[in-house]
């Protein structure tokens, strides 16, 4: 390949321009108390660095050595990733329980702070939500931009059931799962005939309707002020310092000193259990007739009808089941936070869950778990960069879409061997 300087120059100018557009508002204007300061020199320096950097990289890649090095690096990276995931899948039966065991032990470590436990619980809740949305978007191919609605139904369902009917956490879980499923069904009916963009718009609207309802039904939900959510109890044992009338707090019953972390550990373990159950159910669903029908519906609706599949009930079942995962996730979230308000259920939340599914690889399990961990943990790790969070988020999206358009892990199809029906289970695994 010959060296093309004009091309390199053109590219560098474009990149520098983009950098300038981004950097002027972010770095160029600094709000210092009440005065606005301009730091345009810094911007100029950064743009120059970007310009020359890009120029050098382009030229370097054009040169033979650079080209070869670049290819080599990309190849070996890809191979390493491939090898890692393949071997991971082969030994999934050992790795997964081990991993779960580690997760169970972590909160009991002396270095595990309440903060850490809460972040991990949140991550597990996101894993669960992502599994639910994975049914709707990943398997059935129905682009749902209002998934947060079901999450809200779950959280508010628990809060309201507890407040008005005095239901406890463990009762609330199945009931809110049912309520969320009902909401999924209600959303499903009008959108049965819609596809792609139109479906996305309607589901987006549905998400907003739920949120606006929560904001405006002040008499019932407390409106923007939010509502407090009771903490879950363990067989009637409460985790507060002192129990409600007639109750015995957890620490007194077991004769240990009061520690606020018990409460967090408990929620964390419950969330872990539900996340694992959600993953197992999703994995089973994918191999079941209903999961196959969802995928077939995503691929070709007309062909499905002509094979005797009732597309109405199949689509509705995807919405319903997906929604019920969201409902349970909502209950866990409410129980963990102890207080919820409508601002926890904005569109951004839907977007985050959707991007977990898309980045992780639609229909995949391991990919979605990794993406859920990355998307919930990274913002916490880089709290100093909070104002740039969306910028990094966007960058990560762009890069993933360029390098792995199918998501982190593309779903590997199940393979079957003739005459040995159960041998097909081995490589199916979690991908």
């Amino acid at each position: 390949m010959s060296v093309q300087i004009t091309n390199a120059l053109k590219e560098s100018v474009i990149v520098a321009f983009v950098a300038a557009v981004l950097l002027v508002p972010i770095v160029g204007f600094v709000l210092d108390d009440r005065s606005l300061q301009y730091e345009l020199e810094t911007v100029a320096i950064m743009v120059a660095v970007v310009f020359f950097g890009r120029f050098a990289i382009t030229l370097g890649l054009q040169a033979r050595l650079g080209d070869r090095l670049g290819n080599q690096a990309a190849l070996s990276l890809g191979r390493g990733w491939e090898a890692l995931t393949t071997s991971g899948q082969r030994h999934i039966l050992i790795i997964a329980p081990l991993f779960i065991a580690v997760l169970v032990v972590i909160p009991f470590m002396p270095w595990a702070s309440n903060y850490l436990i809460q972040i991990m619980s949140l991550t597990l809740i996101y894993v669960m939500l992502a599994m639910g949305l994975n049914i709707v978007v990943g398997l059935a191919g129905l682009l749902d931009l209002g998934y947060v609605a079901f999450y809200a139904v779950g959280a508010y369902g628990y809060a309201l059931l507890a407040q008005y009917l005095g239901l406890t956490f463990w009762w609330a879980i199945p009931i809110t799962a049912g309520l969320a499923a009902l909401a999924g069904c209600v959303l499903g009916f009008p959108v049965l005939r819609m596809h792609g963009d139109y479906l996305a718009i309607v589901t987006l609207g549905f998400g907003e309707i739920i949120r606006i309802l929560l904001v405006n039904m002040i008499d019932i939900t407390g409106g923007p002020n939010g509502i407090s959510v009771p903490r879950p109890s363990l067989f009637g044992l409460e985790f507060g310092r002192s129990a409600k009338q007639g109750g015995v707090p957890f620490h007194e019953y077991f004769g240990v000193n009061y520690d606020s972390s018990y409460r967090y550990i408990y929620i964390y373990l419950v969330a872990l259990a539900f996340a694992v159950i959600a993953i197992l159910i999703f994995k089973r669903l994918r191999e079941m007739p209903i999961g196959r029908a969802w995928e077939a519906l995503r691929e070709d609706e007309i062909a499905c009808k002509a094979l005797g599949i009732n597309h109405t009930t199949t689509k509705l079942s995807a919405f319903t089941l997906g929604a019920s995962f969201g409902g349970v996730g909502g209950v866990l979230y409410g129980a963990m936070e102890g207080f919820i308000n409508p601002s926890s259920f904005v569109f951004l939340e839907s977007a985050i869950i959707l991007s977990i599914v898309v980045l992780g690889g639609m229909g995949s399990i391991l990919g979605v778990i990794i993406a859920a961990v990355a998307i919930t943990l990274l913002p916490e790790l880089f709290r100093e960069f909070q104002q740039f969070r969306m910028l990094f988020f966007g960058m990560a999206m762009v890069f993933i879409m360029i390098w792995r358009p199918g998501g982190l892990l593309k779903v590997r199809r199940r393979t079957f061997a003739e005459g040995v029906p159960d041998a097909s289970q081995a490589p199916a695994a979690v991908d």
């Binding site: 079941m288 196959r292 077939a296 002509a306 094979l307 003739e418 005459g419 029906p421």
Partner: protein, 270 residues
């Protein structure tokens, strides 16, 4: 011999266009009926009426099933499919991201145990039903010569194999009547012959009733028991291949009026 399907004065109108006009024919169980006609004659429209994608404006399509006469024009597509009418498409409609075998498993959706809980807990009954479905899928894959590519994604298969996979998928639904919409379109001579053989085997070994839209005259004349010729939405001729071949109306529809001898030659051997 019993009749499996009767079309009785079927008409369908799209706005001002009369796409099918009083189509009538009947078909014996276990026979092959070919529907031929120039482009735009309404062949695929007729298929869409039979399989419930379109609803005829007037007329009836009666399917004779288990001593009952069922009017297909009253039923939604998926119900018709469950009664044992299955089809393929002119432009392939496979589930392209799924493997060949999975395509056939989907086709058995109505036959397998799809109870949600028994699937989640993998009960013995569920396993049995899945195993049977897999066996059935392997049978049809091997029948159509697709055993080697069972675990490949349907969308990655060569065109000829995709055509065959469509037939295999239609057969996996365990139909009584299968409607093949130009199964040989885009296939070369050799592939077409292979396909003919398979269609004949379907009829002989499985007593399948086959409704076939086809352009290759050679195929039509060799394998069909009955030929229905459509032109401008009307049946212009109906009968055995030899009868139809001699029908002046058919020759006129295909090639205009003059030069009868040349025409016979071409329709016979093309």
């Amino acid at each position: 011999m019993t009749t499996i399907i009767t079309a009785d004065n079927v008409s369908i109108r799209f706005g001002g266009l009369l796409a099918l006009s009083e189509i009538s024919f009947e078909m014996e169980e276990g026979s092959i009926t070919a529907i031929i006609g120039p482009n735009g004659a309404g062949k695929t429209t007729l298929f869409n009426c039979i399989t419930g994608f379109y609803r005829p404006t007037s007329g009836r399509i009666v399917y004779h099933h288990e001593a009952r006469n069922i009017e297909l024009n009253q039923l939604p597509t998926y119900r018709i499919a469950r009664l044992g009418v299955s089809r393929t498409y002119q432009n392939i409609r496979l589930f392209s991201d799924m493997t060949a075998l999975e395509n056939l498993l989907v086709a058995q959706h109505t036959k397998v145990n799809h109870h949600l809980l028994s699937g989640i807990f993998k009960t013995p009954a569920f396993r049995r039903s899945e195993n049977e479905a897999q066996e059935q899928a392997w049978y049809w894959l091997n029948f159509m010569g697709l055993g080697e590519v069972a675990n490949q994604e349907a969308g990655n298969l060569p065109y000829g194999l995709q055509r065959r996979l469509e037939v295999a998928r239609a057969m996996a639904t365990q139909p009584r009547l299968v409607c093949l919409d130009e199964p040989a379109a885009g296939l070369n001579q050799q592939e077409t012959e292979g396909l003919n053989e398979m269609i004949l085997r379907l009829k002989k070994e499985h007593r399948m009733s086959i409704l076939l839209i086809e352009h290759h005259m050679g195929v039509v004349m060799n394998i069909s028991d009955q030929v229905v010729v459509l032109d401008h939405g009307e049946v212009i001729s109906r009968g055995t291949p030899t009868e139809v071949q001699k029908d002046p109306a058919v020759i006129k529809a295909y090639l205009g009026e003059e030069d009868d001898e040349v025409v016979m030659e071409q329709t016979g051997t093309q």
